[in-house]
Amino acid sequence: MTEPLLDIRNLCKNFGALKATDNVSLDLRPGEIHALIGPNGAGKTTLIHQIAGTLQPSSGTIRFLGRDIGGMSMPGRTRLGLGRTFQISSLTLEFSALRNVMLALQARQGSSFRFFRPVMRDRSLTDPAYETLERVGLHERAMVAAGELSHGERRQLEIAIALALGSKAFLLDEPMAGMDSEGSQALTRFLDGLRREAPILLVEHDMDAVFALADRISVLVYGRVIATGTVEEIRRDPEVRHAYLGEDD
């Protein structure tokens, strides 16, 4: 079996008495989409935050590309190859969509300490930024300020930024949220291809998307992983049906 890129072992995170992450172990293997589902407040975003480095776990280990990244800062983890999107879009709102992507590109090139050359005349930034926007279908809105984009467009821009970073693994927190069905179908097709570039840990409430995309699904309830398996295994799992999917039947 191939070695996992991302390997989380016995992760715990307490907020006071609340166990937001309760002894979670899961991994992400090359080429796969691993979906993380669970009811509101289950601790999905909290888990993503700990992997990305926005939150420090109370205990447990996170290994990425064979390295323990527990002590690494958020920017350090990004530079190592973890690209993430936020559940609530987090963009530089005054900048155009293009400049949001260019910021990621200059960070990837490791060259933010250049003081003279104007970025808008730097083809090594503008060209790939535009191409990245084309990939997610946002190129026609390239010059629009991020703050003026629709909710769905902001989600697309978040993905474009993660792509521009050339990440080796993606952590996507509800990328479909707020998109119309056409948008989420387009994104589903896109993510289906993206897994060949880098595996995806996908937090998503849209079950059509999850069942269409996931190679494996983990179900998180009250901070605990109650099941991990293929789409079929998860659909059949009685505990999952009871705790989570049961609501839908």
Binding site: M74, T78, S90, L103, Q106
Partner: protein, 327 residues
């Protein structure tokens, strides 16, 4: 978008011409006082351009920039005094009355202090940042007051204005031109930096530091470099201010000075290229005309400031040229 850009360019050009033409005409009319007034505008504008790097682009409200202004001033005063009295420094260094050397000393000294203050203060944010920068500046202020070697509370006189190769610096218009040219050079640097990769990162650190960190850039490092650049420029302005007044006093280091710089940026337009220039012109005019009518001119200034904050967030540049637009 283009139109806004053009309009702002026109406004900026207008201000640049105004600031140059007024003292030239005053000099021809034999009114050196107005030349001095314009020189003060140029120097305060320069100091505020320095602050505008962190305040306008980086969103960092430093309430301690008087520290750099004063350090630049003392660098000029101390070097000039040693040169005048022919007292050498330790390590075989000597004083000088050459502005170019003095500016270099002012840039280096304020840069080092900015680095030290930035290393501590930039670990905080919001009100804590305001308070820590204020506290550092006050420490330096009290140090200057209680240090008798360079005048203590009484300040330090520069007996002859320092020299610049090929220019008679004692001529008010010539000295104005030196300050004006420096201001224009630094404004060009500001405009360049703002559009550069570093400028993009600095503005991103203001708009959304989490976003900047999540693409892999530490906001702290970007802010620290900006803070050092900012302090150096305000320090340079301090050296010029010392030469203008031929006097350095601890008041250059006081919190009033820090407040004044913030006020004139807000008056002119925060983050705008010519905001500090517009602000300095307005501020000095208020001081001169309102100050001529009443001792309490700062009360009226406060009311005007309130009006700006409530009704004209973009300051004078915002009123004249519209909102900021990015590409």
């Amino acid at each position: 978008m283009r139109q806004h850009l053009r309009r702002e360019t026109l406004v900026n050009a207008g201000l640049a011409v105004l600031l140059l033409a007024a003292p030239a005409i005053a000099a021809m009319a034999g009114e050196p006082f107005y030349v001095t007034l314009a020189t003060r505008m140029a120097i305060l504008a320069l100091a505020a351009v320095g602050l505008n790097f962190v305040l306008g682009l980086g969103g960092l409200v430093s309430f301690g920039h008087a520290a750099f202004f004063g350090i630049g001033g003392y660098a000029a005063g101390i070097l000039a005094t040693h040169a005048f009295n022919q007292e050498p420094f330790p390590f075989g260094l000597s004083g000088t009355n050459q502005m170019l050397v003095i500016w270099l000393a002012a840039l280096i000294a304020s840069g080092i202090v900015a680095l030290l203050i930035g290393l501590v203060s930039l670990r905080t944010s919001g009100v804590y940042f305001i308070m820590i920068t204020l506290a550092f500046a006050q420490m330096i202020y009290y140090f200057a007051i209680s240090w008798p070697a360079y005048g203590g509370e009484d300040g330090l006189s520069i007996y002859v204005r320092n020299a610049f190769p090929g220019v008679n610096t004692l001529d008010p218009l010539s000295f104005f031109l030196i300050c004006y040219v420096l201001l224009m050079i630094v404004l060009a640097f500001f405009a360049t930096l703002r559009n550069s990769r570093f400028g993009a990162a600095l503005q991103a650190a203001r708009q959304n530091p989490v976003r900047l960190a999540s693409v892999g850039v530490e906001p702290f490092r970007i802010r620290l470099v900006a803070f050092v650049i900012s302090g150096m420029i305000t320090g340079l302005a301090g050296a010029l201010f010392a030469d203008l007044n031929r006097f350095v006093s601890p008041s250059m280091l006081s919190w009033h000075m820090s407040g004044e710089l913030i006020v004139l940026i807000i008056l002119g337009g925060t983050g705008r290229l010519f905001g500090p220039v517009a602000g300095a012109i307005l501020y000095i005019l208020f001081e001169y005309f309102l100050g001529g009518i009443t001792e309490r001119w700062q009360l009226f200034l406060g009311l005007i400031l309130l009006a700006v904050v409530l009704f004209a967030r973009g300051g004078l540049i915002g009123l004249l040229a519209g909102k900021v637009r990015h590409d």
